[in-house]
Amino acid sequence: MKILLAEDDESISKITKMTLELIGKHKVTAVFDGEHACKLANEKDFDLILLDGMMPKMNGLDVCRAVKAGPKGSVPVIFLSAKSQESDIREALRVGAIGYIQKPFEPATVCQQIEKIMKEYGEKVA
């Protein structure tokens, strides 16, 4: 899959990117703030967008809203969330995200988690 990863913390971004590429064999484009994520999501074709909740400029929620309202509204969005943002996550699901992955996540299982969410979503859509 072609994945857009929006995560402001450089270390986490790097580890997530490596995990997705090495274990999941996905192709990952990483951006470090919400505005960038929004721009890229609307310009390029992705199979999945991974959003961190708290980011500078635009938070994950705003990005999700903007993407869902834009031309690439059908691209699925999954949140990467720290535990303290539970309420935001619920809000995100309401805004159109298809799932969320709790941080800190297990690299060995994160790809499976993504697959599971995507599969459930695929069944729902079909």
Binding site: D9, S11, I15, T16, A82, K83, P104
Partner: protein
């Protein structure tokens, strides 16, 4: 008393007083200056003859004249009294009863947290002093409240920032270690691998500890609002047991869920799961491998629901029981050396159960295992529509 009614009383009183005083005075003076009686007296006295008859008539006239005057005077007095009463009523209502009533209303507002509803223009009398005092009291309370609110917000901010700042680096550490141990970067030799595993499991411990401490701080600061809703009990139990699968298989302890009639509970699902996880993880930790940990649901008809977590471990003495639910307290003794953990699990479970208006407790004797239980007041059978208890 509405102001309009007050005004009417006042107008009536004034009109009455004016009418009575002027009307009375006019009548009185007409009676006084009408020379009818006096002129009669004069004519009679001019007639020569029976003087005594003249005198008597004169006298009778005098009496009639005086009677009339007395009646008028009495009428005047009565009317003045009536209008006086109206004035008194007006005074009592406008100066005493109405302000007292207003004071009561303000105090009720105050009681309901509307501290800014003060008296705009306190009057110049004793009632005004009372109002001014009330105003300064309200101001003081408001100031204190705002100070407290600012402090509370600072605390809230701190907790949120601390959560984020502590979790972010742990995510990176855990992620890096995970990537390496998963073999994504190539195979490791056994020594390196064993060290990596230690680093990984200690990181997990650190993460759990941080989460627990932050949760405890949030509960204590009342910053953990419950998101309650009706949830299927069986789903939550299964999900929790599933979540603990790693730990239970590693400890070689089975978890057995006893069957029960399907029930929904009114609870925050995440928090409910946290309570259960804390009880179950303890039970697993203290269980012998040969016997399973049991989860039993007891619905007390038209009362609360009781969820029990039973283990067949070494149990505990009454002294040990007494400190269990306190923070950072572990039931240590000579034959029960300090186990890994912070002693926060049960304190958190207790706080969360109490937030749900339930109770938590334990039945245990040394060497006979322990049964931890907690109750929830709001539940219903899934096949019955009505709720069993409020």
């Amino acid at each position: 008393m509405k102001p309009i009614q007050l005004k009417i009383t006042f107008i009536i009183a004034t009109v009455l007083l004016l009418v009575f005083i002027f009307g009375g005075l006019v009548t009185y003076s007409i009676a006084d200056i009408s020379k009818y009686n006096t002129s009669k007296i004069e004519t009679l006295s001019k007639t020569p003859g029976d003087l005594s008859e003249v005198y008597i008539k004169n006298w009778q006239n005098q009496i009639k004249y005086k009677e009339k005057k007395i009646w008028i005077f009495a009428g005047l007095l009565l009317m003045t009294i009536i209008s006086g009463l109206f004035f008194l009523r007006h005074y009592l209502i406008s100066r005493i009863f109405a302000p007292l009533f207003e004071m009561t209303v303000k105090m009720l507002d105050f009681l309901n947290g509307k501290f800014s509803y003060t008296f705009e223009t306190p009057t110049q009398d004793e009632m005004g002093q009372l109002q001014t005092t009330f105003n300064s009291m309200a101001q003081e309370v408001l100031r204190n409240m705002e100070e407290l609110k600012a402090l509370d917000e600072a605390k809230s901010d701190f907790l949120n920032i601390a959560s984020h700042e502590l979790r972010t680096p742990m995510t990176s550490i855990k992620g890096s270690l995970g990537l390496i141990t998963a073999g994504a970067l190539g195979k490791l030799n056994d020594e390196v691998m064993s060290l990596m595993k230690i680093a990984e499991s200690e990181t997990d411990r650190l993460i759990r500890l941080t989460n627990d401490i932050l949760d405890m701080a949030k509960i204590e600061a009342r910053k953990m609002p419950l998101k309650q809703g009706w949830c299927n009990l069986e789903d939550i139990l299964n999900k929790t047991i599933e979540g603990l699968l790693g730990f239970s298989t590693a400890s070689n302890v089975k978890i057995k869920l006893h069957e029960f009639r399907p029930i929904s509970v009114f609870a925050d699902p995440d928090r409910f799961q946290q309570i259960l996880t804390n009880l179950l993880s303890n039970a697993i930790k203290f269980s012998p491998t040969s016997k399973p940990v049991e989860v039993i649901v007891v619905a007390q008809q038209s009362k609360q629901i009781v969820i029990q977590v039973r283990d067949h471990g070494k149990g505990m003495s009454p002294e040990q029981k007494s400190v269990l639910f306190q923070k950072f307290r572990q039931a240590t003794s000579a034959d029960n050396p300090l186990v890994k953990g912070t002693g926060l699990g049960l304190a958190i479970a207790k706080a969360l159960v109490e937030e749900h208006h339930g109770e938590i407790g334990v039945d245990s004797k040394p060497n006979e295992g322990s049964t931890f239980f907690f109750t929830l007041p709001q539940w219903k059978y899934n096949d019955l529509a009505e709720m069993k208890a409020s």
